[in-house]
């Protein structure tokens, strides 16, 4: 959300092809278990560099190192995150980066928001801490960093992701620089993070396509413990595979509708 309401798209789109089914990518977006395991090499490297910068310059490392180093957050902390699923497979993962900094740029930005929306509405917007929102089955949005990933299946084992970032109209330049830093560091083709995701997605795909592969993929973690209301389903904890179950529920409904229409 930005002071003049509509974000503007910065004119750049990175496109990366994954050699896996699109569902594997969407499952990954809501999977808090993998982060500290899959990304340990990048997280450890960033943590070490944060220390080096402090030792060599006496100053704290630039804030963007946290985007990577925080991936090594231990599992018990990930377990405290909230995941929610809404009808039709849409779901979200709560934030974990602590995105209410109090540096002068952030304070300036928050004041602009209060002037524009009033204190109550501004607080409602600014206190919303969400890491990923999936608009199932085609978009992954990171509102805190103004990032958007469009997922385009090219085949059963090939998926194109289109990666965009946005500038918040009327927000000060440093706020855009955060969005840009996230885009360049996490979502660009030279990302230190995604290399290990993509290889694991491909391995999952190969495993599923093998002659002796099971016809079933287990998403049983915390099954039977989901907290369901008419509006949404909440997970028992951040490590639950509830979002994956809900995505598959939506997909099987879409497939059944398709089959009826064909029939």
């Amino acid at each position: 959300m930005c002071p003049t309401i509509s974000p503007t798209r910065a004119a750049c789109c990175f496109r990366i092809v994954q050699n896996n089914n699109w569902k594997i990518f969407l499952e990954n977006q809501l999977d808090a278990v993998h982060a500290s395991i899959t990304h340990i090499s990048a997280a450890k490297a960033a943590t070490d560099t944060e220390k080096e910068i402090k030792e060599e310059t006496g100053e704290d490392a630039p804030y963007f190192y946290k985007y990577i180093s925080s991936l090594s957050t231990p599992l018990p902390r990930w377990a405290t995150l909230e995941t929610r699923a809404y009808p039709y497979g849409h779901c979200l993962l709560g934030g974990y980066l602590g995105l209410r900094p109090t540096d002068p740029d952030s304070v300036f930005y928050e004041n602009i928001m209060r002037e524009k929306y009033g204190a109550e509405k501004a607080e409602e917007i600014l206190s919303r801490d969400v890491h990923h929102i999936l608009i199932y089955p085609c978009l992954s949005v990171q509102p805190a960093f103004q990032q958007l990933r469009a997922i385009r299946p090219l085949g059963p084992d090939k998926t194109l992701t289109e990666l965009w970032h946005f500038r918040l109209k009327g927000a000060p330049e440093p706020i855009y620089r955060r969005s840009l830093a996230y885009y360049n560091l996490i979502n660009s083709p030279s990302t230190l993070v995604n290399a290990d995701d993509l290889i694991n997605f491909w391995r999952c795909q190969e495993g599923l396509m093998g002659e002796e592969a099971s016809e079933w993929v287990s998403f049983h973690r915390n099954a039977g413990q989901d907290i369901t209301s008419s509006e949404m389903t909440r997970s028992a904890n951040g490590l639950s595979e509830m979002p994956m179950r809900e995505m598959f529920r939506a997909w099987s409904e879409y497939m059944a509708e398709g089959a009826e229409n064909l029939g």
């Binding site: 910065a10 750049c12 990175f14 496109r15 990366i16 092809v17 050699n19 899959t38 340990i40 090499s41 990048a42 450890k44 490297a45 960033a46 070490d48 560099t49 080096e52 910068i53 490392a61 190192y65 990577i68 194109l160 970032h165 330049e173 620089r177 840009l180 885009y183 360049n184 660009s188 083709p189 030279s190 990302t191 230190l192 995604n194 290399a195 290990d196 993509l198 290889i199 694991n200």
Partner: protein
Amino acid sequence: MTPSRTDFEANLASPRSLKEDVEQFLYRQSEFLDNRNWDAWLDLFAPTRIYWIAAHPDDPSPDGRPCICCEDRYLMRTRIKRLRNPKAWSQLPPHRTSHVVSNVSIVEAGSESGSIVVQSRFHMVELRWDKQRYLTGRYRHHLVRADEDFKISLQRVDLLNYDAPLDYVLQSWV
């Protein structure tokens, strides 16, 4: 960014030894990269340096812009630490590269401060698992003299396929 005719004439007139020295320097850089000799590769750069893969050939600088890659010495070291970690799952087995650097020309023969701008073309083949891919494009090195050698203050890379979908990501430098 294309060198003018005058640039090429200046290049022809530039001292042969300088062009040869620069060529040897660029060949050495690509050897270090292909041999995964990361420490030696890093040592080719000046303390204040930027390695930049531009998102668009018209971008005049990386500042404030989307970049395919933009790294200072600390980010470069971070990348190396990741590559060396046995838990970098995508490095089992490590990817391999082979570079050819050619068409070297001195665009600016150097100011009093010793700065030299060099343009070249590269071809790079990368092997990952059983699959090879091919990247090519243009380098533009900004070099400063250091003792009897050079140091890179800025390396700009313009990929031919800068705006095309990339199969997989770039794990080390191009």
